[in-house]
Symmetry: C3
Subunit: 314 residues, 3 copies
């Protein structure tokens, strides 16, 4: 039975807390490494600095070997399907695979057919579970709880993998999630309109102001806003920051469009946890990889049943 | 004296068996590592998933360090020649180099002038020795012999590096090689026409049905076949598979064009060794690298005579 | 206090000699490794084989972990700034960073704001300190001194990062630097015209003939020379090589345009140190990385004060 990590929706609450607990331990210096050589590959079909580098870092901190893969110079250029690419890497001995792909739920064509765990690094406009988990870690680090917190998710909600995943999981963990931003970007199919708030109210009430990136590259047509207009109407301006509660924090999945979603000078202000989120991303991904690898039981032809020989140490 | 691996034609029969023997031992868990840090580089001037990842895996399993090289971001973009690129890597301390290049016999301008062993990862429409060797390993694993076997190589023979290499080496090892596929793609200069068979007869008589990839990217003009027509006339259809001998196996160098060379549902059928070939590719490449490295004798300025200090262990 | 390496101009003479001394020791087999896992990243925004591979080699020889970064598949494609990219890598735990960037003095927007040392791998038409240092190492290796040497820097002086850096530093170290090449490519703003010599005279008097690459990719308009004309007027032709002093050597930062800056047959002649320069580049970069890492003192959030635990051994 493979332990994929595909969406946060399918994680039980105790699994979430287990990952967060391991991530915290990794942040405090816990060492965990497989007892033998373990191979991973990071398949990124969309540009990424943060997520890809973060997985690369997590893998190396766990002592894993990373088989390089670049879409631009792979057989994907000869028309090879995702399924055949993954089966190839499985056949040559890769033990776990991280995938970011532009297609929503790309993993549906893989699960049940491949014999190595898949960690979803982002699917289309769908899910991005390790981003959600690092957001959770950052919030928990700050407040020591989720229940009773008011989380405002603000911005390009329809195109955001993060909005959907986070809204669901934070609600399950006891937080109150509200949304703000341009109403025409609000996805009323999956999110209740009753949760929508005007921007100033959202910012005033929130313990966590979670800004979303304006995903220029996902908008089918040119947006209806100039950067300046967006910032003025929906961004965290220097004025709006002053409305925030004393202990409230600012989060953003990055890359940030400075002076669009957030004023330049606020990116590294005292309230901002934007770079802390990136740091936490490494620990969360270490925990996700550990979870995938320690549950491996002879799924891979080449490397059967090695999970029993994995070493734990603190 | 450097031990390049350029074509199977120049390998003596005992050298082939030595590589296959080492590859088998690696598949059974043999460990072999150089006693000191050894550096390799994989120069792929054409897209590849299988071959490049397989070398990357083999190198890491042998504990070698891999210096990254991407053509798109290298000085090849400033017009640097292959010779100067290889000399550069030699100068900075790379001990062995894997090259795939679009030019037939690209290695002719290197051999005798560079001081590190070259392993050919594919040259133009020429050779692909590690693919041949992994095909041999897969056949030998199945039948325990080559003599008396009937091998049918089917498809785009003129553009295939594999067809040429395999036909030669399998014949030398005692197998009977026949060809099938579109007659206009048959290369009557280097291959005897007497070996050509109609597709149904070839499939009926073969112990090994070795399908070749339709190399869209190498055809100078648009092929004369639709995918559907090719499949019906020359592909391994579901009907043709039923003509195969009971113990006969299916091979394909991949990437597969599903429903062109072979019916989708046959790619992973019981007879198929297509993914087994990929697995074997890693072991064969480990053996090829071991062969290149253990014969190094002071060829590299930086790392002289370290081959004597190489450790063998099983 | 971070130990960046940005330009040779800001290196004191004793710092230069310290780096050269460490580089020499590395060339003689000195081992030096951090006591714990240290992470680097090489950000190359312009094509490179030599410099990038050389850093990759140096990092691996020091036992450092290299986090892969490719501009083409990074968030730079989504408009992320250099500053945000570097802060991201810092946040995920990268301890030192190598950057090549097309913008002159790109590092001015980073220094004082990032908390990891930057090693400049080349900025626009500005500086390239590790190239200068490897040139110094090669000259010192040959002559055991700088004072009294006559160094002729010949060619595309205005577009060369190397010319500027080398002229400055060699003069400070006591050498006499003169220039030659096309007068219209001579940068009379920063270099004294009194140092300009006709080509034959420059070559006759020099202990070191340092040829510069014609940087086709940096010329805003098509050059006024054909390759043939350039070679005849300003190149090191077979005839001009005969004018050189008996012990004089030839240097070139490479990649070489053969039969433009230098006759093809002279690239690997007895006088040429072109490939020796590349070999020395690895040792100089090892020394530069050692210098950056052993001076780290709690600059990085994740890895505080580890420099005290670094091990030295010879």
């Amino acid at each position: 039975m493979l332990t994929h990590l595909l969406t946060t929706n399918e994680l039980k609450v105790e699994e979430i807390y287990q990952i967060l607990s391991d991530a915290r331990k990794f942040s405090e210096g816990m060492k965990w490494q497989p007892a033998k050589q373990v191979f991973t590959a990071n398949l990124f079909f969309e540009p990424s600095t943060r997520t890809k580098s973060s997985f690369d870092m997590a893998e190396r901190k766990l002592g894993l070997e990373v088989i390089p893969f670049e879409v631009l110079t792979s057989s994907v250029q000869k028309g090879e399907t995702l399924y055949d690419t993954v089966k190839t890497l499985e056949s040559i001995g890769v033990n776990a695979i991280v995938i970011r792909h532009q297609q929503d739920r790309y993993f549906d064509e893989l699960v049940g057919k491949v014999n190595i765990p898949i960690i979803n690094g982002g699917d289309g406009c769908g899910h991005h579970p390790t981003q959600s988990l690092l957001d959770l870690m950052t919030i928990y680090q700050e407040f020591g709880r989720f229940s009773g917190l008011n989380i405002a998710i603000i911005g390009d909600i329809r195109h955001s993998r993060v909005a959907r995943s986070n809204a669901d999981v934070l609600t399950r963990l006891g937080a109150e999630v509200i949304f703000s931003g341009p109403e025409e970007w609000f996805d009323n199919q999956s999110l209740s309109l009753s949760k929508f708030r005007p921007i100033d109210q959202a910012i005033k009430e929130a313990d966590v102001v979670m800004l979303l990136r304006v995903q220029h590259e996902r908008h089918q047509q040119k947006g209806s806003f100039t950067a300046h207009d967006y910032h003025k109407q929906y961004g965290l301006t220097i004025e709006r920051e002053k409305l925030m509660k004393p202990e409230a924090i600012i989060m953003h999945p990055a890359p940030v469009n400075r002076n669009v979603e957030i004023a330049d000078s606020l990116v590294e202000c005292k309230r901002s946890r934007i770079f802390k989120q990136m740091e936490n991303g490494v620990y969360v991904r270490m925990a996700a990889l550990k979870r995938a690898l320690e549950n491996l039981e002879g799924g891979n032809n080449n490397e059967t049943a090695y999970s029993k020989r994995l070493l734990h140490s603190i």
